[in-house]
Structures are given as structure tokens and as C-alpha cells.
Symmetry: D2
Subunit: 286 residues, 4 copies
């Protein structure tokens, strides 16, 4: 008399009300949004810097096939998205920190950007991303950036504690060549690389799921419009106590401690339209 | 050179910054908050009603050992919490829907309240509850209730769409006997029962985790203060389109369709102080 | 020993900390932002309809020189603004309802759009607009619009109660001629017309200020970029009880009751950049 | 054909939809809430300190009859209110800074607490308070306090910038005598004293309204329940740039600069129930 979970249909908790709707499944079924045209409006503000490779290695889990990639360059990017189809035209924002890694598994090999953490301001996106894809998504307040004629200022907070500031100053239009190569969070190489971990209930400290996942680079069409600016970038994470951020202070403080040897690229991109990539090609690396 | 996940320490994604802090682990280690005194202030507003058992059975997953309990009585409760230690004194709110079930497994047997869904207004609590405990937590806006001399009105929404209203009218103090037996979300019998489900990345429609979990009834000490009122209760879920609530419309609509044969108890409880129960006795039923 | 309010400097309560900063005064003095270049990004979504002139006349205060203008056409517009200089690059949103009026005073004569109400989602803008300009600004939640390939959907709420929906469907680019003539809230004719009223403390029901004010049409330069679409528009105000909106229910209900005889123009505009108009040419009509 | 503003009925902009509802007028008319029973729940956390009298004098407008009162003691209080009748059972929070002043006018004489600024987190309350009463209300985010067994921590922010922290530590119950004399924001002496200022549209830098107002001490009945704790208090205002708080930085910085010679009382009060005082006895002092 109860309900059966149908093989092949996507579910998330609570499973009792039918298959779940989300980025990779709409009310009409799987991949409903994949490849569809949108009126999306996105902005990415990103700053990169050269750091100490030892500090990055300390952020890579051992024994899962991951190692540091070529250059110890960290990219911090904030993305502001509107017109998302799976959210019925709404949007949300995200702040990610990546660096290059190489995966050498028993079967697979990949080079890409390791997504150490991705703060987002919408629970629904956080939950689907963690459980379906293995993205290390956690919550932050991510207000719209402050826009000046020659400057953009991005911030992030948690229940009122501002833990992050990023400024790109002296904004000048990207050349068409620079514009072509500039990308958002999806990064370079084979794509975004994640370490997925889910705890086992009641056996505290034991994983139920532990694997590396890959979100391949988008190979779909370009956005309908794209424009960009470059400038001088700067970032600052602000040291937090446990009382300031009782669930995230150690993450913020690790980035406070991260050496900034030299700033690299800093840019702002705006894109509009284009077709949906629902990330459903994300898979476990072995 | 990378980091090692230490057995016995609790982790959540991102695992790269050390063990996770949350309800069951503070900066000083596991069960840091368990049994500690608090200055917490909680309010529960709850309404029960008799419904059609066939409709409840349709919400129970088959083949996992669960079946409908004695009486098809649904309890809808909203809980407003302040002074939570693991959040460094902050609070959050939750809206849960439960009904009695029996678990008959190969090894275990339990009777308790099936937590079909628990809306919460804090991502951090949602993520730990889903991944560590198997609670079916999802996001909602849960503003403070509207308090009148003889009435309380609770609402819940998602990005501005109000999907739920609950009123308890004609409030009169509970007798000391009623007060003693009145409880919050933890429910009756052996405790709260959950169906935990986690999808496998890339093999869409296949579970990585699928099990029943139990959060035992609190046997710890009582709150320092407790007072309560009863009245005539009424609830209403408001039908939603996919555009209104693209990730939750099917959940809300299932409760819209649920027959209300007869209202039962309706009360408001306020408690203060007492010691922390961190729910770390939650475990998988087999 | 106390401080003196210096003539000619702009003040708002509290006056004890020096002249006020706001749209018409920055830390460097009056008109600091007027005429400055910006990186602003604005969107206007507007729908007009023909209504019953008797209902509009009932919204015009008597004895102050105002009368209904040529055609009883109401325009409801929602404006989403980013990159505002006086807010140090932040933004806010507004929902206004206007119709044509004529002012015939002892000295002045003006034709323009009567701003019956302007909901905004930022207190700072509301307070300066009411006190300095006489705009009838009140508070609303105004989330970013939902954007679809061929449709835009705007909503407004007050503490969770959604009192307004507007849809423009079948979006098609405006011709360059239509684009040139399409404007935002500033309206047509001589500008925006307001009735400013401030109560006298303690003598309840007596005005301290009662006058008509005019915000002249912008004659400044155009935005750096402008694009637009037209479509079929629809609006709906949702009837509210005092309990739903204890300070605004009568306003919302008046618009619920307003007859929609025939929809007219419906469009979405996006503009970027351009120079600041700080509305400091707003003045009292006599 | 237009509408007439009826003498004696209370109005606020927009006046076009009938008399305004607010604290002093409900849908059934003036003083609808005055003296009514409530289920209100309020918390006040307050810290006082001795400061430099010259700094306080610099915050008093000259030539309006105000001078510094006996002792240069500043009280900073945060009030968290729930179950407010005029908001149909909702609540809001406020942060006020007061010190003793004396008013010596042509006709009136009063001693009381000068309300230099009152931050609130609800626009509706800000607008009615400014325009009807002359309270220097401006906007702040005022999240619920962080509650620990022996400590309470209050914060205030503006669009994510935390400008204020207050802690009261070592909490111990007040004696019944202390409890009786402890009060909320209404202060001591004859009541709360304000300087009301409204600018004249178009004649920038000229007041339309400039007067001193008094909100007399509540003489009504006590709350149904009252409990309190005292401890060691500390406050900190955090220096802001114009970019951090473009409309309020000068206010926050004035309090940053205010000398703290010695902390005085620090307490937390909780009250419940009692009858409504709608502050309609506020009047202009002459």
C-alpha cells in the first residue's frame, strides 16, 4: 500500500511525495531544462593569486587519488545568477574557491579545478548540489555587489558576520581575445573536481559515501551576450571565532591564513541568455 | 602531504578544513553540548487531526519495514527556538508533519512518529540533519508567530509564497496534567522515525544510502520552566504551482489533498532552559 | 555649547550628528552625485490600463489644486536598480502607481503623473523620499523578477503576504522608435506630482505640512545603453485583511477594486550607465 | 469629486486611501489599541556608562530650550518585542541611545531622557515614529540576541555591516527591588525627549518643522510578568566609512568617539503581557 521508489527517477529526501524537482529534473521529467533557451543574466567577479603550494596540499584529502596541479594559483569567484529555469526564473549567488588538481585513479585520470568550498545563498541549490553532485556547498549571505564606475565590491556573510570582501578596481574592457577565454566557475582543464563525503548515521566518524566526482567542462553553446572588464583585484577573508560563525569559522580562517604571494587575473564578466547546462554529466571518478 | 580523515571524528563537506562543527560536535570535540545547561527559549504550536489512513499509507516507502501505526492522526507542529548552544546562542525555527508508524525490521522493532518532512529556516541545521541523521529537512521561511491575547497564528513560506497557515484560538492554560504530557516535535512512542535517502552521483535514480533511522525519545531532564495553553486549532496548506515553489510544490499539494476528518489537540507550549539533547543517539534501524 | 543647524545644509532626523547624507548630499556636500557617471543597471517592468475615471478622482485630494488629467490610464511600474552612487554602489527596488493629473494653482500650472504610492524595499530611500520630496513611499518586499525566455513575472509582498503580481508575456524587442519613447517611473508631461503631508505631533488629525510637489522630468543625458521588449501585460493586487497588512491593507484593496477596462502598453526596459539625476529640482507647487 | 482629509482623523502619506492605520489608530479608529490586553513578549538588554559631558553637549541642538541633565550617563538599550497589537501580533526590535536632558521652554519645563537616535528593523514603525512623534528613528538590522547560560550578546548592522556589539556577562537575577525599578526605553524623569525636524521641499537646508517633543512616562499598569538579570556590560560601536554605511556612518562614528569613563548598570529584562500604551500622549514642548 506504500509507495515504491522507481528506478531511474531522481529522488531526494523527503522521497514520500514523488520524484524530486531540481536542476536536473522538472515536473515533466529528467533533463527537462538541459539545452533549453533562457533569459538568464549572470555576473562573475573573480580574482586569482599565487600561493604557497604546501598550504594547498594540506587541503587535499589523502588516499583518494588527488594531487596538486601545475601551478598553485587560487581563484576566488563570486557569481550572481538570475533567470534560472529550474527555479522558475529566480536566481541565486555563489562564492567559490578553487585551485588546480590532478586526479589519478585506478581507471580515470583528470585535470581540473578543485572546488574546495562553494558558498551559496539558497538552501535548495545547496542540498541538491551536495547530495546529487558532491559539491562542497554551504550557506552564506551574498548580497548584490556594489557597483562603481571603475570598481566592483563583493561581500559575503553568515548571519550578519561579514567574512569576505573582494574588490576589483581600475576596470577596463577586456579585449575580444581575453573575453573569449574568460570563464565562470566551471574552470579550466577537464572541469570541476569535488570530494563527496556523506556520514553514516549513528556510527559517528564513519563515511557512508566517500568518492571523487567530476563536473566536465561545458561544451554547449555560448551565451547570447558576453562582456567583460579587467582590473586590479584584492581579496580578504576576515578571521572568525567559533561564536562568530559556529559552523564555518575553520573554513574562513584557513583562507585567512593562506599566503597571497602575488595577485594574478582579476575580472568581471556579464553574460546573458544561452542554453542550460544542468551538470547532469557529473560522475564519480574511479 | 594531504590531510587524512581521522576515524571517529565527525566530518561534513567540505572536509578539507578539519572535522565539522555542528549540533553533535563543537570546537572542543564530540558531544561538547550534550547535557550542558542552556538559557534556551522555545515555543511549540501544534495541531493534530484525524485523516484518511489510505492517504498516509501512500506516504510510506515500501519494502523498508515501515507500516502505519495505530491511529491515522497527523500532527503539524511549528517550533521556534532561541539560545541554541551549537549555534553560539542563536536560534532557528521548524515546521514538521508527523504520523504514527511501526517499524518491523530483521533485527529491530520500533513504534514512533514518522517525520514526513521538516521545514527549517537555517541551512546549517538542514544540512547536518539530512546528512548525519536522515531527517527530511527542507527550507522554508518561518517568521515569528503572530501573538494575540487569545490566539496564535503561524505561517510558512518559500521565497515569498505563503504555503501554510495555522491558527490556535480560544487559548486557555493547560492543566498541570496536560502540561506534563505535552511535548514538542520528539513525539510519542520510541521517538522520531525517518527514511534516509542519498542519491548516487552520475547514476541518476539510484540510491547510495537508503535506510530507516530512529531518533529516540528524550529521556534527559525537563526544561527549567514550562507553560502551555490549549485551544481550537486549524491548519491550511495552500496549493502551489511549480512556478510558485519549483522544488516543493508536490509536498505542499500532498498536504492540501490530505483529508481532515476531525481536529484533535491544539496547543502552544513555551519552555525555557534545561539541558541539551544533541540527538546523537539517532541510529539506523535494521 | 550645543550644535547649530547650519542654514543651507541638508538635515534629517537625527540632526545631532551633522548634516545628513542621502541622494542629494554626500560626505563632500550638496549635489555631490548630480551629473556623475555611474555603472548603474536598471530594469523597469510596466503595465498600463484604462480604468474608471470616477475611481481615480476619488484618489485625488480636494482643495489643493489637483484634477484628473486627460485619459484615465493607470501605469503600474516596478523598477529594479543597481549601482546607485549615493548608496555607495548598492541598489533597491520600487513599485509605483501613477495616473495623469493637472495642477492648477495660484501661481503654478503643471501636467504630469500623480504618484499615488511608491513601495520601496529600503528604509533609507523611503525616509528621504517622504521627508525631502513628498513622495508617498512605503515599504514592500520586492524580490528580483522571475525571468523566462518570453515572460517576466514581478511580485511584491509585506512581511510575507504577497499583495501584487505582474506578468508581461510574449516579449518581443521594442522598435528603436518605441525604445526612444519608453521611460521609467519619471512619467510624462512636466514630471511626477505628489501630495506631501506631515502630521502635527500631539494634535492628532492636524497637518503640519500639506502641499503639492513636482519632480520635473529628467532633461539630462540618456543612459549609456538601453534595450526593451513589449508584450501582453497583466496585473493583480490581492485583497488583504487588516491582519494580513495592518498598515497597508486599505491601499492594496483600493487597487483591487480599481476597474481594468482595457490593458494598454506593457514593456520591460533595461538601461545601463548614464549620469545621476538626484531629483533636487523637486519643489512645492503653489 | 476628490476626497477630503477629515479633521481629527490621523493621516500619513499616502493620504489618498483613507486615514492611516498604525500604533495610534486601528481599522476601528483612534486609540483602538490603547489600554488593551496583549500577549506581548518583550526583552530589553541595556548598558549604561559615564561619559564626557562636553561630548554629550555637542549632540544637543542649540536654541531650542534643551540642556544637559544632571549626570552625563549614556544608556544604550536594545529592545526585542513580540505580540504587538497594532502590527496584528507581529513584532520588531529597536536600539536606542539616550542621556539625561532638561527642557526649559517659554511655557514648559521637563526632565527626561534625550533619545538621540533609535534604530529599528521595521520601516512602518520608523515612518510613524518620525512623522507622528518626532522620534529620531532610522533603519538597522537587529537580529535576535545570542543567549548563553550566563551571557547575552546583541548586535546591530546595516545591509550586512555590523556596527554595534553589546554583551552583558555574569548574569544573575535582579533582586525584587531592582526589578521593580528597572525599565525599558521609556527612561526616567518625565519621559523621552526628542528633537523633531522635517525639511522643506525644494528649499534645501530649511526646516518645515523644528520643535522639541516629549513622550511622557508610562503611568499605566505593569506587565503581567517581569523578570530580570544584571551583569557586567560592555558596548562597542564599530567605525564605519561612507562606503560601509553611506547614510549612517557619521552617527556610528560619533558613538565610536564617545568616551567610556566607567560602566554603570547592565541588565536584561523580560516582560510579558500587560496593556498597550500607544504613546499618543506625546506632544510638542513650548
Amino acid at each position: 500500500m506504500g509507495y515504491t521508489l522507481k528506478r531511474g527517477l531522481m529522488y531526494r529526501m523527503p522521497t514520500h511525495f514523488g520524484p524530486a524537482c531540481g536542476p536536473r529534473r522538472g515536473p515533466e521529467g529528467r533533463n527537462q531544462f538541459l539545452g533549453k533557451d533562457t533569459r538568464s543574466e549572470n555576473r562573475v567577479v573573480a580574482v586569482s593569486f599565487l600561493t604557497n603550494p604546501d598550504q594547498l596540499e594540506a587541503m587535499i584529502p589523502e588516499g583518494v587519488g588527488l594531487e596538486l596541479g601545475k601551478e598553485p594559483v587560487v581563484t576566488v569567484s563570486v557569481t550572481y545568477m538570475k533567470g534560472i529555469l529550474w527555479l522558475a526564473g529566480r536566481g541565486y549567488n555563489m562564492l567559490g574557491v578553487t585551485f588546480p588538481v590532478i586526479f589519478k585513479g585506478k581507471k580515470d585520470r583528470a585535470e581540473g579545478s578543485f572546488l574546495t568550498v562553494l558558498w551559496e545563498n539558497l538552501t535548495d541549490a545547496i542540498v541538491t548540489g551536495r547530495e546529487e553532485l558532491g559539491f562542497s556547498k554551504i550557506y552564506a549571505e551574498l548580497p548584490e555587489p556594489e557597483l562603481f564606475p571603475d570598481k566592483v565590491h563583493c561581500t559575503a556573510g553568515w548571519l550578519g558576520f561579514t567574512f569576505f570582501d573582494m574588490v576589483v578596481e581600475g576596470l577596463k574592457p577586456l579585449s575580444s581575445q581575453e573575453l573569449k577565454s574568460a570563464t565562470g566557475l566551471r574552470g579550466s582543464g577537464d572541469g570541476l573536481i569535488h570530494y563527496k563525503y556523506m556520514p553514516r548515521t549513528g556510527v559517528w566518524g564513519t563515511p557512508e559515501v566517500s568518492c571523487v566526482t567530476l563536473t566536465p567542462m561545458r561544451v554547449g553553446g555560448p551565451p547570447a551576450k558576453k562582456e567583460g572588464w579587467k582590473g586590479q583585484g584584492k581579496i580578504a577573508f576576515h578571521r572568525a571565532t567559533w561564536e562568530d560563525m559556529p559552523t564555518e569559522y575553520m573554513i574562513v580562517n584557513a583562507f585567512c591564513d593562506l599566503e597571497i604571494k602575488e595577485y594574478r587575473d582579476a575580472y568581471m564578466l556579464r553574460t546573458e541568455g544561452g542554453t542550460v547546462d544542468d551538470l547532469s554529466d557529473t560522475h564519480i571518478l574511479q
